[in-house]
């Protein structure tokens, strides 16, 4: 995809989010390519190493996209939740696409590793993103919302509370969804 066709302005995304939150469902279709363009462009810069630094932190990327695309002064809180919902799905797509290409180029190589910080011991096993993506497709068939929770938590790095906000559910529900989905995926990916 040529990035240059996406030169989103803050206004357009802000406007679309507003339209969407007032019930204009077509707005989300227009929104997705705009947000995708931004996320993709930013992610590509990392993946191509135009930007120095080791880790691509998806949370930061999505937050940055939000700040760049949306005029916070005029945007209601619900729009932010919606934005994250879209961004999470798009981040999943971007990362999985990247992993797929990477896997193709380097057969058998695992695409995703985790950053080194205290939350993530270095010995944590790698996750096969392509397999995870497939499993998520199956999970969505059984329970769409649980798949969304995984997208928000894993691909976008949101906390439980933010995930709950983005989906309009209680934190307890989000937590339950997360626990069962995580365990199911573990089984599916042969981790347990």
């Amino acid at each position: 995809m040529d990035d240059s066709e996406f030169a989103p302005t803050g206004d357009s995304v802000t406007e679309l989010l507003r339209a969407w939150s007032t019930g204009d469902s077509a707005a989300s279709d227009k929104l997705i390519p705009l947000v995708y363009g931004e996320l993709h462009r930013q992610a590509q810069r990392y993946l191509r190493r135009e930007v120095e630094g080791h880790t691509l932190q998806t949370t930061a990327l999505v937050h940055e996209a939000y700040l760049r695309l949306v005029d916070q002064r005029t945007t209601r809180w619900e729009s932010r939740a919606q934005f994250f919902g879209i961004a999470a799905r798009l981040m999943r797509r971007i990362l999985v696409d990247h992993a797929r290409k990477h896997n193709a180029a380097k057969r058998g190589g695992s695409a995703i590793q985790v950053p080194l910080d205290e939350r993530a011991p270095a010995q944590e096993s790698d996750v096969d993103l392509v397999a995870l993506d497939d499993a998520l497709v199956r999970l969505a068939l059984m329970d769409e919302r649980q798949a969304r929770v995984v997208e928000l938590r894993y691909f976008t790095g949101l906390g439980i509370n933010e995930t709950a906000e983005a989906l309009g559910i209680s934190a307890a529900t989000a937590k339950r969804d997360w626990v069962i989905a995580r365990n199911w995926l573990k089984v599916e990916l042969g981790g347990a």
Binding site: Y46, V114, D117, A120, M142, K186
Partner: protein, 954 residues
């Protein structure tokens, strides 16, 4: 394949099973799944099995490590060589690479070696840009900027295919500010205000130097600030932020030596976002003011013990920093200094235009505050940038000396001060007769406000040109007796407010406003100036100058003259002669001079000496140098002599320079040469009728000399130049309080309190009011309230100590003793005795007669020595009298009391309550001296009432 219906069933049972204890789950499943289909049961069992194995599957969000080998694994070991450096040990590691302690065998010195990520070595261009910035910053050899020795590539090593770029820099022993803050957090303590200011001031000083060289740090945070064991502060990693990531990553997290602690603090996700400025969050270009913001956030954290902007997630933090203000310091701490809050507020203004426009401005504000705390003896921090603990001798000289004399007095009221109803203050000085009223309105155009010139230059290094225009035009107009030029402090509250011209007209009586802008482009400067009628908003005169930068000094003079002409102000011949005289003819010297105005006294002294080297006839640089030495002399008296020399040199070079006489007067006051200082201040006032500092200090000098009506006169003149700051109120209240009838003083203070609630100085005035009213217990209550709000504030401690003494109340915290131990010869706040002498009486009451006696013997010796060396402060005689009285030596006591009275001591209401004089109460000669004081003050009060009837009118 599990159907959605089956899955719902699995989910229900899974959640229910999790409610049970581990060992009950098998039974639960057996029971619950009796009738379930096998698919459900199989799923459920698999899930519970997976759940039992506690691991971190998917717990860490997806993120790509592009090169696993880069991620901190290439640990070097002791003895290994990088370039010519020999690795000793790992100091820390972070996202930007590891940092090692290494030795440079060639020079035998320790260095800190920072390895840069491999991929950077490949980007030669970016690396070169970084190197340029880093070198520029470290070439400043500023004490607060960490020096970079070398940026180089390591030769390829066996087992390490790629070369690595590394930075060899000054090894700074000590702790990072982050570590210091964490230690406080762990111990449940907070950094003392004095310490926070000391650190922030050094940071501002380092940043100022870097900004002047065109380098913006972009990533100021506690992790990048090292504090050496000797207290010197060093800023690390100039230029590195640019090398790192952009946008949200501009402050790349984990880049510093040890950032891990940031992540673990609750409620935080990304450490460095918390110091990010709004413009960085918006992805806008940065400039020096960006660092001002970050420093503001760091200062806030040092004071509050918590970050200024917090949130559960990075975006919450960003929304907070973009849209909300951090909780007030007083909310968190209860009564921290108001001034500090103002400094933080201004540094953290969302719009860059509302912030301090440079690190230098911020440094000035901090230095000024530090000066006041230090001069008031900052018990909390000990050392200060002014060079150690200052004594309290000569209080309340400190305020006047500092206010108006420090380069940028307006920092005292920086921020958004409530200005409504200030007009009332003007009423006090509204003329008495209708004819005067008419004159006043006719003359309103002669009341002038010079607004800071706007700097439109792209390069922050040229900021001095705009500041210089403001400075020179103010200074030139200020010298004209036909004009009243408001102080900068008075104008600060109008910064950026809507309809400011109309408000200045209404609230300050300003008739004419000078404003303008400067744009420097290479060697050319475009200066626009206009003179505006505040009421109509119309330009009376305007002019644009496109000139060579080297002509700047000539333009300043030209502009000043043009405005004078446009105002149709009449000039005396002497004024006309001075009007054409530029301060120096050397532009480099002038730039140094302007830079010094924003610096802490010790740094300013060095800069000014450079300016003098460039132009040895630069009288104003000498005068400012004298002021810097005076400030340094507060804590170390050896500087006072150098100060005197500089002031005299300035006067020799330019006898008509008001500031030189003013500087001389300040030094003379500090040396107790009160009559000489009075003459100097008068001379300064005569040469520059709008010099606030000279008026305020003259008022204090007269106060010490017991000439209360004179003191009131000068304070009220000062008030006219600055009718909207707590300091001006404070100065005016001091003489007002000395008169027997305190109703006018009280009325005035009640107004002041309404405008500046809880201002420490105003509260202090109120405590004095209580004492003069004969209600020392009420004064003590008030002092205790102030102390409880801010227990570290030295003036509060002093006030409690002295009011307990005069109220004959207990001093449970032993404040008197504590203060006396630090500096027994410090002059107390309102009692004539020094603090050690007061403490002596406590010792006697506790039975320690011998120790008291030796304290008093020393005190008498010192006082006599000071008197013989020319100190004219009448408190010296009273101190000797007090000690004589308490020792029962009545003739000596009366003799020295008489001498004190002759020297100007008139504060009979304090004497009447002073326990030292209890032995003399029934002595007729004592009573007679008291009566003479009383009748002198009554006569002065009569004169004051006639001269200032509106001030005293009910």
């Amino acid at each position: 394949m599990t159907t959605p219906e089956q899955w719902q069933r699995v989910k229900l049972l899974f959640d229910a099973a999790l409610e049970k204890r581990q060992e009950q789950r098998a039974d639960f499943i057996a029971e619950a799944c009796g009738a379930e289909d096998p698919e459900v049961r199989q799923q459920l069992e698999a899930l519970l099995r997976a759940h039992r194995e506690s691991d971190r599957f998917l717990e860490t969000p997806a993120a790509t490590v592009l090169q696993a080998s880069d991620a901190g694994h290439s640990i070097l070991t002791e003895g290994q060589r990088i370039g010519r450096y020999r690795i000793e040990r790992l100091l820390g590691s972070g996202g930007m690479g590891e940092v090692y302690l290494a030795e440079d065998p060639r020079l035998g010195r320790k260095v800190a070696l920072k390895l840069l990520p491999k991929d950077l070595a490949a980007d030669a261009d970016r690396l070169r840009r970084f190197e340029l910035e880093a070198r520029t910053a470290s070439a400043l050899s500023h004490p607060n900027v960490c020096v970079i020795y070398e940026i180089a590539d390591s030769e390829s090593q066996a087992g390490d295919a790629a070369t690595r770029s590394f930075i060899a820099m000054e090894h700074v022993p000590g702790e990072s500010l982050r570590q210091v803050l964490d230690a406080h957090a762990t111990a449940g303590t907070r950094m003392a205000a004095g310490e926070a200011i000391r650190i922030a001031l050094q940071m501002a000083s380092g940043l100022d130097a870097a900004h002047a060289a065109g380098v913006v740090h972009r990533d100021i945070k506690p992790e990048n600030v090292m504090i050496r064991p000797d207290g010197l502060v060093k800023i690390l990693d100039f230029g590195l932020a640019k090398l790192a990531r952009k946008g949200i990553f501009g402050a790349s997290d984990g880049e510093s030596v040890d950032s891990s602690s940031v992540h673990t603090r609750p409620g935080m996700v990304m450490g460095t976002i918390q110091y990010m400025s709004p413009e960085q969050a918006r992805g806008e270009p940065v400039d020096g003011r960006t660092d001002v913001w970050s420093l503001g956030a760091v200062l806030y954290e040092m004071m509050a013990g918590r970050a200024a902007f917090t949130g559960k997630t990075a975006s919450d933090v960003m929304v907070a920093l973009l849209t909300s203000d951090p909780p007030a310091l007083s909310e968190l701490l209860g009564g921290r200094p108001v001034d500090l809050q103002r400094i933080v507020n201004q540094a953290l203004a969302k719009e860059r235009e509302d912030r301090y426009q440079s690190a230098a401005e911020l440094a000035t504000a901090l230095a000024e505050l530090q000066g006041r705390l230090a001069h008031g003896f900052d018990a909390s921090s000990g050392g200060t940038g002014l060079g150690g603990r200052a004594n309290l001798r000569g209080w309340p000289r400190s305020t006047a000396l500092l206010h108006g004399l420090v380069a940028r007095p307006w920092v005292l009221v920086a921020g958004t001060v409530v200005v409504f109803s200030i007009a009332f203050a003007m009423q006090f000085f509204r003329s008495r007769a209708p004819t005067d009223d008419a004159r006043r309105s006719m003359n309103q155009k002669y009341v002038v406000a010079v607004l800071p010139f706007e700097n439109l230059s792209r390069d922050t290094a040229n900021g001095y040109v705009a500041a210089g225009m403001t400075e020179e035009i103010t200074s030139q107009l200020s010298q004209l007796s036909a004009l009243r030029v408001l102080t900068r402090s008075a104008l600060v509250p109008f910064r950026g407010v809507p309809e400011r011209l109309a408000r200045m007209d209404k609230e300050l009586g300003v008739g004419s406003v000078v404003e303008g802008s400067v744009r420097v482009d290479g060697k050319r400067a475009r200066i626009t100036v206009q003179l505006i009628n505040a009421r109509s908003g119309q330009a009376i005169w305007s002019q644009q100058y496109d000139r060579d930068l080297s002509d700047m000094l000539a333009i300043q003079t030209e502009v000043g003259r043009s405005i004078t002409t446009a105002l149709e102000a009449s000039l005396t011949p002497a004024e006309a002669r001075r009007a054409g005289r530029p301060p120096t003819v050397d532009i480099a010297a002038y730039e140094l001079y302007m830079r010094a105005l924003g610096q802490a006294p010790d740094v300013a002294a060095k800069t000014l000496q450079q300016a003098i080297e460039a132009d040895p006839t630069f009288a104003r640089a000498y005068a400012r140098l004298a002021r810097s030495w005076l400030f340094m002399g507060f804590s170390n008296r050896i500087y006072l002599d150098s100060g005197l020399q500089a002031a005299n040199k300035a006067i020799v070079l330019d006898p008509g320079l008001a500031y030189a006489h003013f500087a001389l007067g300040g030094l003379q006051t500090e040396m107790g040469r009160l009559r000489a200082s009075r003459a100097s201040f008068l001379k300064a006032h005569q040469l520059d009728p709008n010099l606030f500092g000279a008026l305020a200090d003259l008022s204090l000098t007269e106060l010490y000399l017991g000439r209360y009506d004179e003191s009131l006169h000068w304070a009220s003149q000062a008030f006219l130049l600055e009718p909207n700051t707590p300091i001006a109120y404070y100065h005016l209240a001091l003489p007002l309080l000395k008169f027997e009838n305190v109703t006018a003083a009280e009325r005035f203070l009640v107004r002041a309190e309404r405008l500046f609630p809880d201002h420490q100085r105003i509260q202090l005035n109120f405590a004095l009011l209580d004492i003069y009213r004969g209600r020392p217990a009420a004064a003590l209550d008030r002092a205790r309230r102030m102390l409880s709000r801010d227990p570290e504030q030295p003036e509060n401690q002093w006030l409690v100590a002295e009011t307990s003494f005069i109220a004959r109340a207990l001093d449970p915290e032993n404040l008197l003793q504590r203060l006396a131990e630090v500096e027994p010869r410090s002059q107390s706040m309102f009692l004539p005795e020094t603090i050690g002498t007061l403490h002596g009486l406590d010792l006697v009451r506790g039975g320690a007669t011998k120790r008291a006696d030796s304290l008093w013997t020393d005190a008498v010796k010192s006082a006599k020595h000071e008197l013989s060396s020319g100190d004219e402060h009448p408190d010296r005689q009273i101190e000797i009298a007090a000690i004589g009285a308490v020792r029962g030596d009545v003739p000596t006591a009366l003799d020295w009391l008489e001498r004190g009275y002759q020297a100007g001591y008139k504060d009979y209401r304090v004497l009447a309550r002073d326990p030292f004089f209890d032995n003399l109460r029934s002595n007729p000669r004592y009573q007679q001296i008291i009566l003479r004081m009383k009748s002198d003050v009554a006569a002065m009060a009569k004169r004051a009432v006639i001269a200032n009837d509106t001030l005293f009118a009910p």
